[in-house]
Structures are given as C-alpha cells and as structure tokens.
Symmetry: C2
Subunit: 229 residues, 2 copies
C-alpha cells in the first residue's frame, strides 16, 4: 500500500449559473494532473451555483419547508434537523447562506448523483482521465459534536468498501464491516478545502476505491431501517 495524497484544487473563480464546473476543475488541476482512478471531490456550493440553485435570502423559511421531506427535530436555536427530499438528514434542508454572494441562499443540487455523473463524464471528455467524482457537503452528526464533510453525490465508484464475508488476519469473518469510503474521502478532502480558504475542490490520489457505478443515494439508510429517525 502506497501513500494517499490530497491536493487542493485552488484558483476556481466565483461560479455562476451555467458555468462548466468540470472545465473549471480541469483548469484548476493543471495540465496532465488528473489521472485514472483519482477522486475529484467538489463542494456542493459550486455545483449548486452552476445549476442556478440560488434564491433570495428572504425566501429561506419557505425554501427550507419546500426542500424538506420531513422535520425530525427542532433545536433550541431555531434550526430544523430534517430529511431533505433526497433522504439526507441535516440542518435546514442543507440550505446555506455562507459563501453565497449578495443577500442570497443556496439550495442543494436537485440530484447530486446526476451532478456528479455529469461532471465525471465531462472531465473524461476534456482530459481522457477516468476519475471518480464526489459532491460533498458539511453535515452535523448525532451523538458527536462538530461537523464533517460527507458525500451527497457520487459517480464512478462504489461508495462502500464492503468487507463483509472477507476474513481478518486471524481467519475470523469481518462480520459487519462495510466502510463508507465516500464519506471518508469527502471528510479527507475538507481538510484542504476549509471554509475560509475559498477552495471548493480537492483531488485525491492513491485511495483504495472500487471502481464501477455507485451513488450517494445508496448511502441513505431508509427510514424504515433506521433506528434513529
């Protein structure tokens, strides 16, 4: 096993409706840097902006309601913890006001898996490189303080490394182990993206992903099987 490298993709300008995010990522990476089996992690913000998912801040309450499938809890601070239409559990339906120009708010992409597939296909068209793409967002968790970045869109990789049925070094079956590597990649990428740096994407080389079709929708635990909704 060799090392994994996480590189910031810096220098992406402010994105607006209709921009070609894949082309901006390719340009930020530089000539010949993107290679087969690399993972490109993109903050959903630039994806949402390129898809015109910007609304006036005055519509926030209405938008949180219309983007939510279900509210699970309300915090003392007036935040809604709920399920988005995609099934993601997060605060305020994933709607965000930071790093959005003007008095505006930003919604999640309508279908972040589709966004990831489009970006992946366009990167291949532009460079020939067969990369995987993750669209990421910053979510809080149950039981643990603080947020981490997780995958809300996935293309070109299995979001899991499923060890069930494999054996450990003692020959014991690895009972329940099914690692969500897409979330680990999104979290790792966050460390070079930051919140105040204005770096909206990262490139990860050397990760042990399994290639193939995959989606972030498959990470969502169905409410019927979820003990904590």
């Amino acid at each position: 096993m060799t090392e994994i490298r996480i590189l910031p993709l810096a220098g992406i300008p402010e994105v607006t409706d209709g921009d070609d995010v894949a082309a901006l990522l390719v340009e930020a990476a530089g000539d010949g840097v993107l290679a087969n089996d690399d993972v490109v992690v993109v903050a959903h913000k630039i994806v949402s902006k390129s898809e015109g998912r910007v609304r006036p801040a005055a519509e926030k309450e209405e938008m949180v309601a219309s983007e939510s499938a279900r509210v699970l809890r309300r915090t003392a601070g007036g935040m809604w913890i709920g399920e988005t239409r995609h099934g993601f559990v997060c605060a305020n339906a994933g709607i965000d006001a930071s790093n959005v120009p003007g008095d505006n708010i930003l919604l999640l992409p309508v279908d972040p898996d589709l966004s990831a597939r489009r970006i992946r296909s366009r990167i291949r068209h532009l460079t020939g490189a067969d990369v995987a793409v993750i669209v990421s967002d910053t979510f809080g968790r149950a039981w643990r303080i603080g947020q981490t970045n997780v995958a809300i869109g996935v293309a070109g990789m299995d979001p899991f490394l499923d060890h069930r049925g494999e054996e450990d070094r003692s020959g014991m079956e690895l009972g329940a182990t099914n690692i969500c590597i897409a979330d680990e990649l999104a979290g790792a990428a966050e460390m070079v993206m930051g919140k105040t740096l204005g770096i909206a994407a990262a490139l990860i080389k050397g990760s042990p992903i399994r290639r193939g079709p995959g989606s972030a929708a498959s990470i969502v635990r169905s409410p019927a099987e979820d003990l904590f909704r």
Copy 2:
C-alpha cells in the same frame, strides 16, 4: 495550502499486553520520518491489546453489559447500539472479535485520551518529534449506511477546527461551522489501514490541525444536549 499525505505505518507485529506501542510506531515509521505537527493515527486494537483489554469470547455478553452505560436500541440482528462508559455511541460497547487472536474479544481502552497522551509523550521521548496522536475505532452512524473511522482518543491537538465567528469570502459570518477534524483525520487514515491489510496505524503530514491540549471526550455530545439519544 500544500498537499496532505497519508502514509501507512506497516510492519507492526501482533501486539500483546505490555508492549510499547509508541516504540512500535516509531520503528514502523522509520528513521527521521516522524516530524513536528504530524498526526499519528493508531487503531484502538493495538492500544487495547497493549493494555491487556483482551477477554475470553465466552464473556462477551457480560462484557457488553459492563462496558455499557446505557443501551439506546437493539437491532433485529441482536446488536446493541448503546453508550459506552466514555459516552461514545456505538455497537456492542465497542467490543470486537475480529483481528483478535484466539477465541477472544477486545474491549476499548479504559481511557483512550490517556492512551493517546501516553503514546504522544513516549514518541516525543524516543524521537524528539512533537506529534499529535489519535486513537481510532470504526463506528456506524445514524441515518447513513456503513461505518467510518472516528477518533476515540486525542492528544496534542484541538479535535475541532472552530470557524464560528470567522467570516467567509463574502464577509458573512460562518454561523455554525465547527469541523471535527479529528474524525476527518481518523477516517482519512482508515483508507490506508483497511480491515484485512493488518495495518494498524497511519501517519498524516500537512493537515491543518491546531496544536494544543485536546481530547476525544470533548467530541461526545452530552446526552442532555443530544436530540438523538
């Protein structure tokens, strides 16, 4: 911002009670590799083994009960989701049977923050390098399928990158953003550790941690403030 590198620390032999984990980590890293501000991530398994936290498999049920502070849910498969005495929410009180020799089970360290502090201090003694140390374990999550590695012990760093009060690029305050970078580091390290590879530790260079005292105990959301226990 430069790149982050995640390097496997391979070649650590099977650990038993009383072994000097820090010395094994230093040897696995090789001469002169550990440097100030590096993060050493250690799977709790070798820490627990070095601390004699091995019990006969026949005692599993009794041990899950005695290591649990509270049971939150029982799954259809007979797994307990509960709070450990440390406050961590995980399956079966963090007790594990994989990668343990013989017909044995492994308990979590009694005080994983103390374990991390000891390893950190011993690494400094052996090499002069002022590293941060994370003890990690593999936990499931609410709402999302699959597990990721998280920090259960922390030393020499703030487990959070707290952006609250800072401004984004538009001059907007970053309301709630408090990144749990210790969990992102633990998850990133998992990608070179794997479950079947037998690699029990990783070294991370270039991460944007803030140095200082810190603990994984501070990541635990107190039950009184937790909307999901």
